[in-house]
Assembly symmetry: C2
Homo-oligomer: 648 residues x 2
């Protein structure tokens, strides 16, 4: 008999089947937020018409004892359960189900007794089952004998109602065979994994005096203004020493001038590598001060984790075996055709010494975690093995579950989703290039649908130091407002690269390029306060986001039909309370656009309701059916953000 047949025959008493658990993504961990309830549904069924009992066992991985919660019948073989996620870190859960002989007997007995047919033997059968459930010397045995003697169904029914017996029965089942589902995992993160507003800036550009280099200390001075805009996470490009060999000049020139500071992503020189701080930026103490200053403002630092080396990085001396030599002994610099990074060497992940390399990379993260950093924005994770990230993120989070990782992968859909499955807490997206109503709608529908919404937390960026989309180049201030509003209202996680963004500076390197002209990647900038900047608008948007829990998740989103392709509208709902928001945005940065928005019964809105525009406090009466909107860029309007007011 072959292996499979032997396996089947060893499980001959298996009666109950457990299938189709939802949510689930194979063997990968689901992503949830702490202090929420986890809800699951599952198919549980057996042959015949016997009664099934099921429980869910769950625990935090560090707990030794399993907790148990009931699994209750919904309909048509579908069951559900829920349990609280009270701690950060990994939870595991599984479903256990079995035939409950006592419940099966009881159902049959009640059916027969209700028609007074052939029930006396069932009385005896039930009492037999009870005798096995009761402890040997239990006082009820005598009572059972009496009922059995008289085959007294009424007395039996009374007995079953007694709380003593109910308790005993619920704790003393004797299943022949318990079917157990696979163990499934949930990674429980802090809320910022799901709700965050990021601000990227170059610390070296934070000095108030022209021609001076910004430092971690001058960055601290900037924090209040960033806080005033309402951001939570301050993401810094690499703060490490920058290579001198093959250093890039202004506008990515292959050769640097003597004073060019180089790209921060060309990490490492004689002064240190991934655990060093660029001497011009400051010291470890300065960094600690920065972390502390952020914390006081309820913000936090996200560091860049870019696994690559400048030609001067100490690793090239200390671990030449981690780099792939060409036959002539030279190394190949990084390429992402047609882009060339002559100032950067990649690691060779297929090197024989990869285990030591993995440990070293983990040590880098550990170093910064020890200094108080709990968020890492990972540069180009899709050019390193997925399994490395799976190991790294799980290793870090098993000790420091508060740590979050944002994947900066701009590549094909499957690798991007795979990185999220491998553990990244948040992910960059294609949002930067989705401009039309149809593009935005289709992309969001994909992101909020299962299974993507189970593992992929989008983070929407209207711009980055690498991405100045054509829409921003052409549309000026209004285009920046529109894209910011879209990012901030569609996705609970979003970010901008500033101050270039709030200054809506958007000159490309050349026609057709997405690179900023005179990019901050290669030179030090000095940002002066700008009249008519977007700081106030951004501050208002972030304030609205904070105050309205409908913006604290991405997946409870429903698009509303509009009869104008320039007007996009959608409803957002809260996971936490009854907060409900309707957003209307004019995608046209030039002209006034109007539309009829369709409110239908699928929106869960009443027939009549009031809405308040959170941008200007205007109140309107709306209703199911068609409602009129207009937005005029000439009047500095790009959006309505309506709060639905249900009770007056």
């Amino acid at each position: 008999m072959d292996h499979q047949l032997i396996f089947l025959k060893n499980n001959g008493l298996k009666r109950v089947w457990i299938d189709n658990l939802s949510p689930a993504i194979g063997n990968y961990a689901l992503k949830k937020i702490v202090d929420t309830e986890f809800h699951l549904e599952v198919d549980i069924y057996a042959d015949s018409i016997d009664e099934i009992e099921a429980v869910c066992h769950y625990k935090h991985v560090e707990d030794t004892q399993w907790c148990e919660c009931p699994v209750t019948f919904l309909e048509n073989d579908r069951w559900c359960a829920q349990f609280p996620l009270e701690k950060l870190g990994e939870y595991v859960f599984k479903i256990r189900a079995w035939i409950n002989d006592f419940a099966t007997w009881k159902t049959r007995f009640l059916k027969k007794y209700s028609v007074k047919e052939d029930y006396e033997i069932e009385v005896i059968t039930g009492l037999h089952l009870l005798e096995h459930i009761l402890p040997t010397n239990h006082s009820l045995h005598q009572k059972i004998k009496e009922i059995a003697h008289n085959k007294d169904a009424e007395k039996l029914l009374q007995l079953l109602e007694s709380s003593v017996l109910k308790n005993l029965i619920s704790k003393n089942y004797h299943p022949h065979y318990v079917t157990e589902s696979e163990e499934k995992r949930i990674v429980v993160d802090r809320k910022r994994a799901q709700f965050s507003a990021w601000y990227e800036l170059f610390p070296r550009s934070t000095h108030p005096h022209k021609k001076l280099t910004g430092t971690l200390s001058t960055l601290i001075a900037k924090l209040p203004s960033i806080k005033a805009m309402g951001f939570d996470v301050i993401y810094l490009p690499p703060i490490h020493p920058i290579g001198t060999k093959n250093r890039k000049g202004k506008n990515n020139a292959a050769e640097a001038m003597p004073n060019d500071p180089g790209s921060p992503w060309a990490i490492g020189n004689i002064e240190g590598g991934h655990t060093a701080i660029h001497p011009q930026l400051g010291t470890v103490d300065d960094f600690k001060n920065l972390v502390h200053a952020c914390a006081k403002l309820d913000m936090e630092i996200a560091l860049d984790f870019a696994l690559q080396c400048s030609p001067d990085h100490p690793y090239l001396q200390d671990h030449p075996e981690w780099f792939k030599k060409r036959p002539d002994g030279t190394l190949q610099y990084a390429e992402n055709p047609p882009k060339k990074y002559q100032d950067i060497y990649p690691f060779h992940f297929a090197a024989a010494q990869w285990p030591q390399m993995w440990d070293e990379f983990k040590a880098i993260i550990d170093y910064w975690v020890d200094l108080g950093v709990n968020i890492f924005r990972v540069d180009n994770p899709h050019t390193k093995p997925f399994i490395f990230w799976q190991w790294l993120i799980q290793s870090i989070k098993s000790k420091n579950p508060e740590v979050l990782f944002l994947a900066e992968a701009f590549t094909r859909p499957r690798p991007m989703y795979q990185l999220a499955k491998c553990g990244f807490s948040q992910s960059y997206t294609y949002f930067s290039w989705r401009n039309t109503k149809q593009e935005i709608t289709e992309y969001l529908e994909e992101l909020i649908a299962p299974p993507v919404c189970y593992f992929f937390r989008p983070n929407f960026w209207p711009n980055t130091p690498d991405i100045l989309p054509e829409y921003l180049q052409k549309g000026g201030k209004m285009a920046h407002m529109i894209r910011l509003t879209l990012a901030a209202t569609l996705s609970s996680n979003y970010g901008i690269y500033g101050p270039v963004f709030e200054h809506y500076e958007a000159e490309p390197l050349h026609e057709g390029s997405e690179e900023y002209l005179d990019s901050e990647k290669y030179e030090i900038k000095h940002w002066q306060n700008k009249e008519d900047s977007l700081e106030q608008y951004i501050g208002l948007i972030n304030k609205i986001r904070h105050e309205h829990t409908a913006f604290h998740n991405t997946h409870l989103l429903q698009f509303l039909n509009t009869d104008n392709d320039q007007i996009i509208s959608f409803c957002k709902s809260s996971e936490e309370d009854d907060n409900q928001i309707m957003v209307v945005i004019n995608l046209d940065y030039q002209y006034k656009q109007s539309a009829m928005v369709t409110i239908d019964s699928t929106t869960d809105l009443p027939q009549q309701f009031k809405i308040k525009d959170l941008l200007n406090e205007a109140v309107y009466e709306w209703h199911q059916g068609l409602c009129y909107v207009e937005l005029d860029p000439q009047k500095n309007q790009c959006a309505h953000i309506f709060q639905v007011i249900r009770d007056e």
Copy 2:
């Protein structure tokens, strides 16, 4: 470090990921037909931009060697493969994929050489790779040294084109790490698993002379007329000795009269059990003759496999441990509330001796297979453990892959689908109760969609000895024609219970009952030839089914829009050739109905085309857009079965 982290770290060189294999149904076997090609699609991707190579390994389980077929790139990380299914039985396959360093090098080299940039070092790199691929003493080593000396890209390109090298390269890859998918299974059946017309009849009712009991010999005499109707499978209710204790009388009377023959499903008496033949029906030799006579007509017998016992069955004496005793020592007869089967005892599948019981049940199947039976219709499989069927069907088919099993499970959807996953070749369905256009359309859309179509082969029955639907009771001959036409054209497997069906006798036991009055289950019938029977119509439908391969599968089905709820229309396509059929059926057995059928571009039909009604040879010109149809029951019309004629 925990188990999962150790696992990840042990696989640090894994670069390629294999996901989302289609078709697939977890660990259950897919169902396919012999002499077809198996097509699969799968996601294969890696980090970075390295080139991936993938192959599919497949074999019949009994073969020792794996075969290999290429897996080729489609688009966007999706790949495909196909291989032939040439033998009955189980196939296994898996996907293997790895980074191909040589192909990666070649792509990079060609890209650089095309712009004549930095390519000389790539020439050397490629030659190094070649040297490792070549056997040590190969004559090409000298040539390689020469090219290397001159860094001659053109010569290298010529060398790569040489067939010697191409061969060596394709056979001598040195992958660091091969990613292998799970092994997946395919059960390959003969075509009758997918295309069959069943005829159920009671052998004891086949005697031409009234008051005499039919036998296996009188059944043989009936075979030509059944063949003339075009059926392939003759399904016999149990042919075993029938219990005498608690025997049922006419119309399920609790007490039988002395001459009542009893229900054939009350299996076993002193004359034998599941491997005995009822003495009134004949001998083992008669049975062999029947099997032989069927085979000569290219038909075959399907036996009923009903795992239950009459109170007289020898098992009750020989294996009392296989039955569940109540506290008073009695057995509980079978019940399916409100139905009571006092003449039947169920087996106790949770008995301690279940392994012996399983073996005995398998021995029953083996016995009949040895006598030439290759199809079993299994009675109420959903009241026995799924895992038993999984074991039994796999055990039988591993030695006798030609054997087919039809699941007679009328229960909730999930248990019905689970039985199919566990190995049943075909399944009864809810078709008998799906009457309206919407009901039929929704049900078929469910059955033909993945994953259901991967494992569930529907068998549509307008009636059975247990099911006389209200529609047939009320609608007479025309209703029978409509339901037969629906069953035979919608599903490639279908069956009827006759001769009651072709005689369209449809008197229920009482108003609201689905039982036949004077059911053949409890008495012997004598069917006389009936003028105006449906034999000819059935013969024509089955002839059309045989001649047109569009009817040889169920899943290539597309419903067409019609503007009348009484008119249903659908297109069927062939898996084997370009045969294409359009069916139009009037669901109203009383009144003439007409409709406009919408032919749109999704049907893959040309702008203009001819159609021929295979029921009456009439030819029409149709076109994309709206086409008119009418069907009049008064003119004995219930359907058009149009063959699409593409080239004239």
